[in-house]
């Protein structure tokens, strides 16, 4: 079954594309649960049909080579490399990059590498996706396993060809003995990979394995570092790809959830008499304050969710409102405080300074507002055997949480990741999976839950708001003598980004499971902005308790680099203010106080590409794109530096500001990016470009609004993001490829260097410093009016 059959099908139809084949494999896995649902997770976990004779097991074994990688016959005389990884694709092309890394070690063409991703019954627990670590850490065990597989195959080839291993070379899976010119192929050496042990270290993101083979030296790479096209885009663009929304299970019902009338509202009464006349309506499910409907078809579920009359108690009035949010953060006694950087005596140095500069920067709640609002399918059997299909980033953690929620042993729960839309953190795909589990358990049938737009935008978890208060002293010569950074924020991990307990999920909390606080995650400098080496520095972070501890639509968690954009916005904007106060060029000023050569290199690379003109003189409006200075449009330019876990990013933004309407448009972006060794320059460039657009969106448009009880930004008009008219005329990405360094993170770092670049460009254009994100037209106009 499973791969045996899919491979058989592959042989039968040689003409089919590579990705169609993968999708068929997915379909088979899905179909498989229909055959013997009471045994599905256990049987599927065994994988005993491949390779033949391999012992069955109930969980993937990371200490064995075939727990990671198999080389299997397919397509007649060929073979394919099946890779089992706990990493998943969330839209940035990591599948392609990982395929390159594996193909490089094995000396096979990249199109021979196929993945099983994020299936708790088949793949090792690598912690899922998070923190821009899929390449920097997640690729390590795959690279090592592939290197070991190659070594094992070559040992077998050496016996077969009767020459020493040192005499062998491999190209496209064909092994050649140099001295005799005899050849063999990986497809002839297939039984070699069973029972090969690996040494396991670490866990989660840091899980690694090593065997007795060393990976290649990067100097010998021929595939890593090349622009291999994304393997998933042709099937996606030609309509042959399946997302999570396409999963259908026999006997499946369609579910919708009905959320409370506001935070803390308690369920009083449900009247579904109107819903009963809807064709296909099955029932309404309630558990505590969790309410959902299930129906035989999707439209019936949508109509029923509207038709059911639900009576709630009055919501609590515990939110500050978005207008008062920053006052609330600044004036509420912190639940926890921490000094994150302390050097010298900052307060004393500032007190004695010739000039003091102070500023406060504010960054709002933002919504993940994923493109697909969230979808999952759950099949909870009466005996607790459960399969959940989900696009959330951390399937293994969810397996633990659902076992707890259902009160069943871990091995009865299987979570199968299927790609959803880009999630960019703990977006809520975890919560919709929990909703599906609750509804399936109640209905006794598989249930597919599709969130509606407001379920995501209003009720999904949020990126945390941050207030940053900064003070610095300069001496008469413009030297910074002391600097203080103080943040006031909600925890970036109020909802743990690792959803491994039942109390993590919104639906479970509504159903009465006590909410489990994820932990204190501070908005901290220097970790989240460049660590400028001022002599006297004090950085202090305060955490404010969330508005409401359970089932709150304003619960905060990871959204693409949780507090990094907010802290970097503050620090980098303030550096620009200090450079102006000191009469210095903002690039030279940064380099002066931050000696890291890689930071200097990206700043210089961006400056060169952008044609940066030294700035340090009193404000001069530059008319690079030629608007009439007497008219409403003015232009300006700003720079910002982003540093994150060993990745360095410098961006230069050119903006055009309409002084009458307040509309800001970024006309050009230059971004120089150093994340160490580049695995795929084209894929990396695309991901950076997209992150720039998303960050323009977060800087200019995005703010979650709310009254005392409810989130009021619920859809695209009320939670606006970038549209086609916002696209810059030019975006130039400069990749600084450090082949002497290991590959680092690239998904998030460029989001740090955007808001300050745009804000400083607006200042350059108008003389107005915007310190509250987003820079909406109303705020620009208000700033211009002083």
């Amino acid at each position: 079954m499973q791969f045996g059959s899919s491979l058989e099908q592959g042989r039968r139809d040689m003409e089919r594309s590579r990705r169609e084949f993968i999708r068929d494999a997915t379909g088979l896995v899905i179909g498989f649960s229909l055959i013997d649902t009471s045994l599905a997770p256990q049987v599927l976990a065994q994988r005993s049909t491949f390779p033949p004779g391999a012992p069955g097991r109930t969980v993937p074994a990371p200490d064995r080579l075939d727990g990671w990688l198999l080389i299997n016959p397919a397509y007649g005389p060929g073979y394919l490399v099946q890779v089992f990884t706990g990493k998943v694709e969330i839209g940035m092309g990591v599948e392609t990059a990982l395929a390159q890394i594996i193909a490089e070690e094995l000396d096979v063409p990249v199109d021979r590498v196929f993945f099983v991703m994020g299936d708790t019954a088949q793949t090792p627990d690598q912690g899922g996706v998070g923190g821009s670590t899929s390449i920097s850490q997640g690729a390590n065990p795959l690279r090592n396993a592939a290197a070991l597989a190659r070594a094992v195959l070559l040992r077998r080839a050496s016996e077969e060809l009767n020459v020493p291993v040192a005499d062998l070379s491999v190209r496209d899976g064909v092994v050649t003995a140099r001295t005799t010119n005899r050849t063999t192929s990986y497809s002839n050496l297939l039984t070699s990979l069973t029972d090969v042990p690996l040494r396991v270290t670490g866990q989660g993101f840091g899980l690694n394995v090593q065997g007795d083979a060393k990976p290649k030296s990067p100097a010998d790479y021929t595939l890593v570092g090349t622009a291999v096209p994304r393997v998933d885009l042709p099937p996606k663009l030609t309509g042959t790809f399946s997302y999570i929304t396409d999963v259908r299970i026999a006997g499946m019902l369609h579910g919708r959830v009905i959320r409370p009338a506001g935070v803390g509202a308690k369920l009083q009464r449900v009247d579904d008499s109107a819903a009963k006349s809807i064709a296909g309506y099955v029932r309404t499910v309630t558990k505590g304050d969790f309410v959902g409907v299930v129906a035989e078809n999707e439209w019936a579920a949508i109509k029923a969710a509207k038709a059911v009359k639900v009576t709630w108690s009055a919501p609590l009035t515990v939110f500050s409102t978005h207008e008062r949010l920053y006052d609330y953060l600044r004036t509420t006694p912190p639940k926890s405080s921490r000094d994150t950087l302390k050097r010298g005596e900052a307060a004393m140095a500032i007190a004695g300074a010739a000039k003091v500069v102070e500023a406060t920067y504010e960054f709002p709640f933002q919504s993940h507002a994923t493109m697909g609002p969230g979808c999952a399918v759950a099949d909870v059997k009466a005996d607790g055997v459960t399969t959940v299909w989900s696009g959330a980033q951390k399937p293994h953690a969810m397996q633990r949480a659902f076992a707890e929620l259902l009160g069943v042993p871990l091995e009865r729960v299987r979570v199968v990741w299927v790609e959803d839309s880009g999630s960019y953190g703990r977006a809520g795909f975890e919560d919709v999976a929990c909703d599906a589990v609750l509804l399936s358990q109640a209905a006794g049938r598989p249930v597919r839950v599709q969130w509606m737009r407001d379920d995501m935008t209003a009720w999904g978890p949020k990126g945390p708001p941050v207030v940053s208060v900064m003070r610095a002293g300069l001496d008469a010569g413009g030297e910074v003598v002391g600097l203080e950074y103080t943040s006031y924020a909600f925890s970036g991990n109020e909802v743990n980004a690792v959803p491994q307990v039942a109390g993590n999920f919104l639906g479970a909390q509504l159903a009465g499971v006590p909410a489990v606080y994820g932990g204190d995650e501070f908005a901290e400098w220097s970790r989240m902005a460049p660590p400028y080496a001022f002599t006297n520095v004090l950085a202090r972070a305060h955490l404010i308790a969330g508005f409401h501890p359970t089932a709150s639509p304003l619960r905060s968690t990871h959204l693409r680099d949780p507090e990094g954009p907010a802290v970097s916005f503050a620090v980098e904007s303030f550096i620009d203010e200090l450079a102006r106060a000191a009469g210095a060029d903002p690039i030279e000023f940064r380099v002066k106080y931050y000696s890291e050569p890689r930071a200097k290199a990206v700043l210089e690379a961006a400056a060169e590409k952008a044609g940066w003109q030294r700035r340090g003189d009193p404000l001069v409006r530059r008319t690079t794109s030629g608007p009439d200075l007497n008219g409403p449009a003015v232009t300006g330019r700003g720079v910002s530096l982003g540093v994150r876990n060993g990745t360095y990013v410098a961006t230069i933004a050119d903006v055009e500001v309409n002084r009458r309407t307040g509309v800001v448009r970024v006309t050009r972006f230059v971004c120089a990016h150093d994340c160490g060794l580049v695995v795929n320059p084209d894929g990396l460039t695309r991901t950076i470009e997209a992150n720039l657009m998303q960050s323009i969106s977060r800087t200019l448009k995005e703010e979650t609004t709310f009254d005392r009880s409810r989130v009021t930004s619920v859809d695209w008009p009320t939670y606006g993001i970038v549209r086609a008219s916002d696209v810059p005329d030019a975006v130039d990405i400069v990749l600084v490829n450090r082949k002497d360094l290991p590959p680092g993170g690239a998904g998030e770092p460029s989001s740090r260097a955007i808001a300050a670049a745009i804000g400083s460009a607006i200042f350059d254009a108008t003389g107005v410093r915007l310190r509250r994100v987003p820079f909406t037209p109303a705020r620009v106009v208000a700033g211009l009016r002083g």
Partner: protein, 167 residues
């Protein structure tokens, strides 16, 4: 966990409607008020994607009568009998339509969940106006949402098709 369950199963009459997708006619039982999107999904045309159900994002776009329309806002009683084209009706993996090929060449998307809207809107735009200007392209796309921010390459792909180059 015990769940409190309320309500009963019920069925009401549906209408038999003609659905013509990508040149093939079939008969479906559907509520005439049901948006076309959900019927397409049941009939296994799943590339028109659910994004908002409110006509705000364009992920569910199909082409009816040469125009890009939002299937989540098009009731079956309006769509029945009309010529409907979905993404599945353009090209195949082996032989992509020129719009699909241009987006593949540009490596234009991140997650790709929204791409149906961009591809179908581009198709409708170019069919009615083969050489749109930059402002016409942007205007045609203003109603579409891409959360990942893939816009830079999307516009590049369409400029390529339109034979225009940004100044």
């Amino acid at each position: 966990m015990d769940l409190c369950v309320t309500g009963q199963v019920s069925f009401a009459a549906m209408s038999r409607l003609s659905l013509k997708v990508n040149g093939k006619v079939r008969t479906v039982d559907a509520d005439p008020d049901c948006p076309l999107l959900y019927v397409l999904h049941d009939e296994e045309f799943r590339n028109p994607r659910f994004g908002c159900g409110l006509g705000q994002c364009g992920a569910c776009t199909v082409i009816i009568g040469g125009r890009a329309v939002r299937s989540c806002q098009t009731p079956m009683k309006t769509a029945a009998g009309k010529d409907i084209t979905t993404l599945e009706g353009l090209g195949t993996p082996g032989k992509p339509d020129r719009v699909q090929q241009a987006f593949i060449d540009a490596q234009a998307f991140q997650c790709g969940y929204c791409l149906n809207g961009w591809v179908m809107t581009t198709k409708a735009l170019l069919d009615s106006n083969p050489r749109p200007t930059e402002s016409q392209i942007r205007a045609a796309f203003e109603g579409l949402v891409c959360r990942c921010g893939s816009h830079v390459r999307i516009l590049d792909a369409v400029r390529q098709l339109a034979g225009t180059r940004q100044a």
